[in-house]
Amino acid sequence: MSLYQVQKLIYQLNRDPRTRERYAAERDAVLAEHELTDEERRALVEPDIGLLYVLGVNGQLLMHFAALHKIEWNAYLEAMRQGLVRHGPVREGVYAATGYEGVEAHDARLKREREIH
């Protein structure tokens, strides 16, 4: 519904140090400046990275929001996977998951293929 508002808040947090300061000091005031559903608000506050992913937040925004909350890369990827399990497929936007073997398995497969050729 208000995916634009969720993404705008995340964009501002990513790009504007002053918004980050305010978000740390008076989060509710910052949230109140955006028209959010209860679900969106909850997902931002927790933060529920998996739910934000399912709501359709663009990964190029979401990865920075995760980093802001000190969630490191692998935990960020895992949170999205858990989001899909708990909340179902991505509802909006172009960041749906397709299923993937994972970087390690992929790397190993490429190496095998290279040795064969």
Binding site: Y11, Q60, T98, E101
Partner: protein, 274 residues
């Protein structure tokens, strides 16, 4: 005067941020190819480098999302990413406002570009520059195509943008090089990050090397999304470079899928007659 160099390369942040996690051989080969590309650009003695990139919400957001944008400043700053993460020092990068303005006015005759009197480079420009112009001594004219927030720029307009850039570049006295940066297939910042559709990438690059306009612009967004992921939308930058080459054919100088870098890492050049 006629464009002196036209090429394309990858810009994935992993290339610098996660360098040591890649297969050592593949990584070294990629970095060598990047450096060779830098040498080739310098060999054409350019006065400035046009970088056609696809940024990731560094400057542009859905409150005012331009199909095309070009920078018009005497300097830029980048990368915006955390320096320790990307392992590229933030710095001022030289621009050329007067040259940008001439090029923008030329492009505007046929393509409706937004101009930007400031611009913060993200990895889409900063990663290539790190290898191509490590001395940061070449003025940059940054350009952007919306590959991120739908409705995306149509592929045939990306082609028109490349043509417009070429016409504008040919019309000024400066010697100009052009490099497009972007991924081919990839699924960045999703649970599928690392996935690569190598066959699709090779097919796309074959079309690019053949400079086959019809084949390059025939993909639908749904097809790109299915086969190349949301990262695949960035083929727009490669398409613009092909158009800027004005019919010249290309050479794929390097192409290797490197999962931890999340893309088929690519260095390619159009054989334009300078």
């Amino acid at each position: 005067m006629p464009l002196v160099y036209c090429g394309a390369c990858s810009h994935a942040p992993g290339i610098t941020a996660r360098a040591e996690r890649a297969d050592t051989q593949a990584r070294q080969a990629l970095e060598s190819a990047f450096r060779r590309m830098g040498d080739d650009i310098r060999a054409t003695r350019p006065d400035a480098l046009i970088v056609v990139a696809a940024e990731h919400f560094a400057n542009f957001f859905m409150n005012n999302m331009p199909a095309f944008a070009m920078g018009m400043a005497d300097s830029y700053e980048g990368p915006i990413e955390d320096e320790a993460f990307l392992r590229i020092e933030r710095r001022r990068v030289p621009g050329n406002k007067a040259l940008s303005r001439k090029l923008i006015e030329g492009v505007m005759q046929t393509v409706d570009v937004a101009y930007a009197e400031e611009w913060k480079f993200d990895h889409g420009i900063s990663v290539p520059l790190h290898f191509l112009t490590p001395g940061y001594d070449l003025p940059i004219v940054p350009a952007n195509i919306n590959c991120q927030g739908p409705p995306l720029t149509p592929l045939k307009r990306a082609w028109a943008f490349g043509e417009a850039l070429r016409a504008a570049a040919d019309a000024v006295p400066e010697r100009l090089a052009l490099v497009a940066t972007g991924g081919i297939s990839h699924w960045p910042a999703t649970p599928d990050s690392g996935k690569i559709n190598e066959a699709w990438d090779r097919e796309f690059l074959a079309r690019w090397a053949a400079n086959d306009r019809a084949a390059l612009t025939s993909y639908s967004d749904a097809e790109i999304y299915r086969d190349g992921g949301q990262g695949g939308f960035e083929i727009r930058t490669f398409i613009a470079a092909a158009a800027a080459a004005k019919g010249a054919k290309g050479t794929i100088e390097f192409c290797e899928p490197i999962p931890i870098f999340a893309v088929s890492c690519t260095i390619a050049r159009m054989q334009i007659a300078a």
